[in-house]
């Protein structure tokens, strides 16, 4: 197995997503670092910690979902049904 190595903790280079947003790790959006130069300086956050925050967020939200109800009804499914009905009864 691969353990912790300091050298692995530097984030990948930033890709621009919009004028205000960049992406380094896949699907993890970050504010354009140029916007954090005057008042609040960004922290050195190692790769493991970035991934931990994202995982924790999803785990927390899934837990909240399960907290409030047993299941979620799919809007995509309902829309597909509506569209099928509309197609058969135009």
């Amino acid at each position: 197995m691969q353990g912790y190595r300091r050298a692995d903790q530097t984030p990948p280079p930033a890709q621009r997503i919009t004028d205000l947003v960049v992406m380094r790790h896949e699907h993890i959006y970050e504010v354009d670092p140029d916007l954090m130069t005057e008042h609040v300086e960004q922290q050195h956050i190692p790769a493991w910690d970035m991934l931990r925050m994202v995982d924790s967020r999803l785990e927390w939200l899934y837990m909240l979902q399960a907290h409030f109800s047993d299941e979620r009804v799919s809007g995509e499914e309902l829309l597909a049904e509506i569209e099928a009905e509309e197609a058969s009864h135009p």
Binding site: M36, H67, V73, G75, I82
Partner: protein, 502 residues
């Protein structure tokens, strides 16, 4: 009003005899850290709000004895529960004795026959519901501070719940409660005499009188709460819209659709969409054409939620918007159970990130007037930001407001970032003026200054007599009758004026 005297050893000793020495806190940190809540706060005037002593009672009897002592000595008493309020109810305006009720967190028996549970005011709803889950029931009071607010504070603010259209708000969900009056008597208010009776015509409706007092009429020491069947199914949908007008009209149609499982209908305006684009907590790229969002959620039994959701999706689809997809809709909705704006949302005029406090206006506005209030509020805040760039307009949300009735009016929230670190007398004064103008606009369109948090914040509080008219004079009469020495949270709601004439 009560005079603010230095607390001498005799008073401290008296308090210690009531709660025990270890629960009388006099250290600077104990007091300084109980001067503030997340509501707008003049940091540069922090010192003025530091209580003289903090006590942590464990029972209604102890609370009663503290209040009696305070009456004898004419010392202000300020109750504090979670300290998560967006209004300054728990901020000691005139210092005095701060009564922190967090130790009162007992949880009684789960009564599945009468569907109720009795708890201490220091209980948090999320934790309570974790405990209740195996029983198949829940207490569905769901503010943004769901995981940290406490039952006592919810009653003190007459709080609003995200799921109120489905399950009701605090006034509907608290069946009865025990309160220590400003003179120390312990009474129970509810529906008649039965602590779990849901409706009564016996006597005055005192339960609602003692809710939302911001601590000016007593300290809640116990509450009996409604238990509803835990929902089998949840449905949430977010629809991107091309204009605010379309979102508003679609929202109105959904609100009036008559489905009983509706938990809420929600609108984001164009400034809120911009805000989401720049930095929402779970950032999602949105198409350029999107200028507003209309969202809705349903809870209940599977057999009811799915068919209702389908009909509501039909209405939304006909509006010409675009559904965001299940993953985003479901995750974004779940984040709303647990969401306060974070400080780094703040931007200076050149776009730089700055740590700003979240200020949340929460007026109740008639549905037809929502587009008008949106324009008026943004103009008021734009003017403030132009003069003082330590403020930032974070856009507007609207939610269905009525308990069990998702029609008629909406809770409208304009969010304003405040860089509190840089507040001084001038900027604080400008902010208070701005607040007053926002409140005035809400009253002028026939709404209420606050649907959720209370209207005792600086600026807006000046207009409470305007909003309530003769009813405000009755408030003063009641205050003076129940609190003859003005010791309960003096200074709040302008009620010091109740003591001026006599």
């Amino acid at each position: 009003m009560a005079t603010v005297t230095a607390l001498d050893d005799r008073v401290l000793e008296g308090l210690a005899e009531i709660v025990g020495h270890q629960y009388v806190l006099t250290s600077k940190t104990a007091r300084i850290n109980r001067a503030r809540v997340p509501s707008m706060f003049a940091v540069h005037r922090w010192e003025e709000h530091v209580p003289q002593v903090v006590v942590l009672p464990a029972s209604a009897h102890e609370v009663s004895e503290i209040v009696k002592l305070a009456n004898r000595e004419r010392i202000p008493v300020v109750p504090r529960a979670g300290g998560t309020g967006l209004v300054d109810g728990a901020v000691p305006l005139n210092r005095g004795i701060l009564v922190d009720i967090k130790r009162m967190d007992h949880v009684g028996e789960v009564d599945l026959a009468e569907r109720a549970i009795t708890v201490g005011p220091g209980v948090n709803m999320f934790k309570l519901n974790e405990m209740l889950r195996p029983y198949g029931v829940m207490y569905p009071d769901n503010p943004a501070s769901y995981t940290c607010a406490l039952v006592g504070g919810r009653i003190g603010t007459n709080g609003w719940s995200l799921l109120g259209a489905r399950f009701g708000h605090v006034r509907n969900l608290v069946i009865s409660f025990e309160i220590v009056l400003p003179t120390g008597e312990i009474i129970r208010v509810g529906e008649g005499g039965g602590i779990k009776t849901r409706s009564s015509s016996s006597g005055y409706r005192l339960k609602e009188l003692f809710m939302g007092t911001q601590g000016t009429l007593g300290i809640v020491t116990e509450a009996t709460l409604e238990l509803v069947k835990r929902p089998e199914a949840e449905f949430s949908a977010f629809w991107l819209q091309r204009s605010y007008d379309t979102a508003w009209k679609t929202g109105g149609e959904l609100m009036r659709s008559g489905y009983a499982t509706i938990a809420g209908v929600m609108l984001f305006d164009e400034r809120k969409v911009d805000f989401v684009r720049r930095d929402d907590e779970a950032y999602v790229p949105q198409p350029d054409w999107c200028e507003a969002v209309c969202a809705f959620a349903l809870y209940g039994n599977r057999a009811e939620v799915r068919p209702a959701a389908k009909e509501m999706m039909r209405i939304a689809k006909a509006s010409g918007g675009e559904y965001v997809g299940d993953e985003i809709a479901q995750l974004d909705w779940s984040a709303r159970h647990d969401r306060y704006a974070t400080p780094l949302h703040g931007r200076t005029p050149n776009g730089q990130v700055a740590p700003m406090s979240w200020h949340c206006e929460d007026a109740g506005i008639p549905y037809p007037k929502v587009p008008e209030i949106r324009k008026r509020w943004h103009a008021i805040v734009d003017d403030l930001v132009a003069r003082h760039p330590i403020f930032d307009d974070w856009g507007m949300f609207s939610y269905t407001n009525g308990p069990y009735k998702p029609w008629g009016d909406m809770l409208c929230e304009i969010d304003v970032g405040i860089w509190e670190e840089h507040l001084d007398d001038e900027t604080w004064g400008a902010w208070v003026d701005c607040k007053r103008e926002i409140a005035r606009a809400s009253i002028e369109v026939g709404g209420t200054i606050s649907a959720a948090h209370g209207s005792s914040r600086a600026g807006e509080v000046d207009l409470v007599p305007l909003e309530l008219g003769g009813a405000y004079d009755v408030m003063k009469t009641i205050k003076r009758a129940l609190d003859p020495n003005n010791i309960m949270n003096p200074g709040k709601y302008g009620l010091d004026s109740a003591y001026e004439d006599g």
